[in-house]
C-alpha cells in the first residue's frame, strides 16, 4: 500500500474485509456465524445491521468491537486493526441490557470508562455533568440504576458509551427491551445526540421501522451461514423528526427493506439452508 492511500483509510470508521466467524470448528456443534463478510462504514454514517435471528448481526458487531476475533479476514476501525482500536478506546458500546453496574450510581456508571482511562477526578466530574445534560437526565446522577426506568437506564448507558469522546458508537439492540412509545422517543434522542457529537454509529436491530428511521444505510443480513445480502441507502431528505415517520418516503423504504429481508429468506429456502 502506498503512502498516498493512507488518508482514505483513515476516513473510514469501519472496514471489514472478507471476515468469517466459525464457532466450535471441528465439532458437531460447528456454526458458521459469518461467511466472507465485507462492510465499510464511512465516518459520520449511521449504519444499521438487520436480519433474522442467527444471521450474525451481533457477531459482526462484536468483531468490529474486537470482543471476538474473526476466524478469517480482517477488521479495521479508524484505520487501525480492531484490537488496537479497542485498546485506544476508539468506540463506545451499548447493549440491549443496559449493563449498568448496579452497585454504582448513574453518575459513577458514566464515570467508569473515564476512571479506567485514567482521567483526572475533576475532569471526570465535569464530563459526567455534560453527559447527564446531553441525555437530559441532569438530576439523576445520584440515583442507583434500579431507581431509574428502563428508558432512563438506556440513556445512562448511552451517556457512558459516549463519555470518553469515542468517534464510533456500537449498539446492540439498545432499545429492544423498551415499550414502543419510549422506543420511538429514544430513537429521536439518539439522532440528536449523534448529530451533536458527530458520532459514527453501527446499530444492530430487528425492527425495520427503527432501522429505516435511524440509518443512512440499512445492511440486510441473512442466516445459515450469516452473510450480507443487500445494502439499502435511506435518503429521507432534511432533518429527521417525528413527522418523518408519517412520510411516504419512509413507508417506501420500510417496504424496500422488508422485501430485501424476504428475498434473502427466499434464497435461503431455495438453497435448503434456512435456519429457523
Amino acid at each position: 500500500m502506498t503512502e498516498t492511500s493512507e488518508p482514505i483509510d483513515v476516513t473510514r470508521a469501519v472496514e471489514v474485509i472478507g471476515a468469517s466467524m466459525v464457532f466450535n470448528d471441528g465439532t458437531p456443534a460447528r456454526v458458521a456465524a459469518l461467511n466472507d463478510v465485507d462492510l465499510v462504514v464511512e465516518t459520520g454514517d449511521f449504519v444499521s445491521l438487520i436480519g433474522p435471528s442467527g444471521c450474525g448481526k451481533s457477531t459482526l458487531l462484536r468483531l468490529i468491537a474486537n470482543l471476538l476475533d474473526p476466524t478469517a479476514g480482517d477488521v479495521r476501525v479508524n484505520g487501525k486493526p480492531a484490537a488496537q482500536a479497542r485498546l485506544d478506546q476508539d468506540y463506545g458500546m451499548a447493549f440491549q441490557k443496559s449493563g449498568l453496574f448496579e452497585w454504582r450510581t448513574a453518575a459513577k456508571n458514566i464515570e467508569l470508562p473515564l476512571e479506567l482511562k485514567g482521567w483526572d477526578k475533576r475532569l471526570r466530574a465535569e464530563r459526567v455533568g455534560e453527559m447527564l445534560d446531553l441525555v437530559k437526565l441532569p438530576d439523576r446522577g445520584s440515583n442507583m440504576p434500579w431507581e431509574l426506568s428502563g428508558g432512563q437506564q438506556q440513556r445512562i448507558a448511552i451517556a457512558r458509551a459516549l463519555a470518553s469522546h469515542p468517534p464510533l458508537l456500537l449498539m446492540d439492540e439498545p432499545f429492544g427491551a423498551l415499550d414502543e412509545m419510549t422506543r420511538e422517543h429514544m430513537q429521536s434522542e439518539l439522532l440528536q445526540i449523534c448529530a451533536a457529537t458527530h458520532t459514527t454509529v453501527v446499530f444492530v436491530t430487528h425492527s425495520i421501522p427503527e432501522a429505516v428511521y435511524l440509518s443512512d444505510r440499512v445492511v440486510v443480513m441473512s442466516a445459515g451461514p450469516g452473510r450480507i445480502t443487500d445494502t439499502i441507502d435511506v435518503e429521507l431528505g432534511g432533518t429527521r423528526n417525528e413527522d418523518t415517520r408519517e412520510k411516504d418516503a419512509f413507508y417506501g423504504k420500510i417496504t424496500e427493506v422488508r422485501e430485501a429481508l424476504r428475498g434473502s429468506e427466499m434464497t435461503g429456502e431455495a438453497r435448503g439452508i434456512e435456519d429457523r
Binding site: R86, Q89, G92, M93, F95, W103, L112, P113, L116
Partner: protein, 255 residues
C-alpha cells in the same frame, strides 16, 4: 407493620415458648422427674442466676474463640477466593485442598492440634478450628460471587480495555459483596458451634463446653445453665450477621 401484625409476628412464638416451658415444668412436677435426669425450667433459671458470673465468663471465652476464628476465616476466605479467581492455576491447586481439609471431622483435628502443635494450655487450636470451618464457607460463596458476573459487564470491561486486576476490583469484587454477607450469616452460627465442639475435645479448662462437661456428673440444672449461655451466644452471632446482611441487601435493592 400494623399492631395486629406485630402481635402475630412476635406474640405467637412468644406464647408458644411460654406454653412449652409451662408444659415442661408441669411434666417434671407431675411425674416427679429427678433433677439428675431433667431439671425443671424454674430450677435451671435459678441455677443460671446463681452462677451467672461463671456462665458469663465461660460464654465470653467461647465467644472470643468463635469471634477470632470467624474473623480470621473471613480474611483468609476472601484472600484465597480473590487469588483463585485472578490466577487460574492457583484454583486447581487450592480448591481440592480446601475441600479435603473441610472433610476432616473437627473431632479429629482438635486433638491433633492440641497434642502435637500447641499443647493443652492454648486457645489457639480452637480458634484455628473455627477459622477452618468459616474459611470454607466464605471461600466457596465468595468465589461464586466473583465468578457469576454478567456477560454484558465483562464485554463492557473488555471494550474499555480493562486489565484483569481492574476487572477483579471494579466488577468481580463488588459483585461478590452480597455473597460475602450471605456466607457470614451461614458461617456465624457455625463458628459458635465449632468453638463449642472444639472445647469439648480437650484443651484448656475453660469455655462453655468445658462447663457443660464438668457439670454432667452433678445436678443437670447447672449443665442447662451453660446451655442457656450457648444459645444466647449462638443467637447473638446469628442476629448480628443476618442484621448486617439485611442492612447491605436493603442498601442494594430498596426499590
Amino acid at each position: 407493620m400494623t399492631a395486629s401484625g406485630v402481635v402475630k409476628r412476635v406474640g405467637s412464638p412468644l406464647l408458644f415458648g411460654v406454653a412449652f416451658l409451662g408444659v415442661w415444668e408441669l411434666i417434671v412436677m407431675a411425674f416427679d422427674i429427678a433433677p439428675f435426669t431433667l431439671p425443671a425450667p424454674s430450677a435451671i433459671w435459678s441455677a443460671f442466676i446463681e452462677r451467672f458470673d461463671q456462665v458469663l465468663e465461660e460464654t465470653l471465652v467461647t465467644g472470643k474463640n468463635a469471634l477470632i476464628g470467624f474473623l480470621l476465616g473471613i480474611v483468609f476466605g476472601v484472600l484465597m477466593s480473590l487469588l483463585t479467581v485472578r490466577f487460574v492455576g492457583v484454583e486447581s491447586l487450592l480448591t481440592p485442598l480446601a475441600v479435603a481439609v473441610n472433610a476432616i471431622p473437627i473431632v479429629v483435628i482438635v486433638p491433633i492440634l492440641n497434642n502435637m502443635l500447641f499443647g493443652t494450655t492454648s486457645q489457639v487450636p480452637r480458634r484455628l478450628m473455627v477459622m477452618l470451618i468459616v474459611f470454607f464457607v466464605v471461600f466457596i460463596n465468595v468465589s461464586k460471587g466473583l465468578r457469576q458476573v454478567s456477560a454484558t459487564h465483562l464485554e463492557l470491561m473488555r471494550s474499555y480495555a480493562a486489565t484483569p486486576w481492574e476487572i477483579l476490583l471494579k466488577v468481580r469484587a463488588p459483585n461478590a459483596v452480597g455473597y460475602l454477607f450471605t456466607a457470614m450469616r451461614i458461617a456465624a452460627p457455625l463458628a459458635v458451634i465449632t468453638a463449642f465442639v472444639a472445647e469439648y475435645f480437650g484443651g484448656v479448662q475453660s469455655g462453655l463446653a468445658t462447663g457443660v462437661r464438668n457439670s454432667l456428673n452433678g445436678s443437670k440444672d447447672v449443665t442447662w445453665a451453660y446451655v442457656i449461655g450457648a444459645s444466647v451466644l449462638g443467637l447473638t452471632f446469628y442476629l448480628v450477621s443476618s442484621g448486617l446482611e439485611r442492612l447491605h441487601g436493603g442498601k442494594q435493592n430498596s426499590g
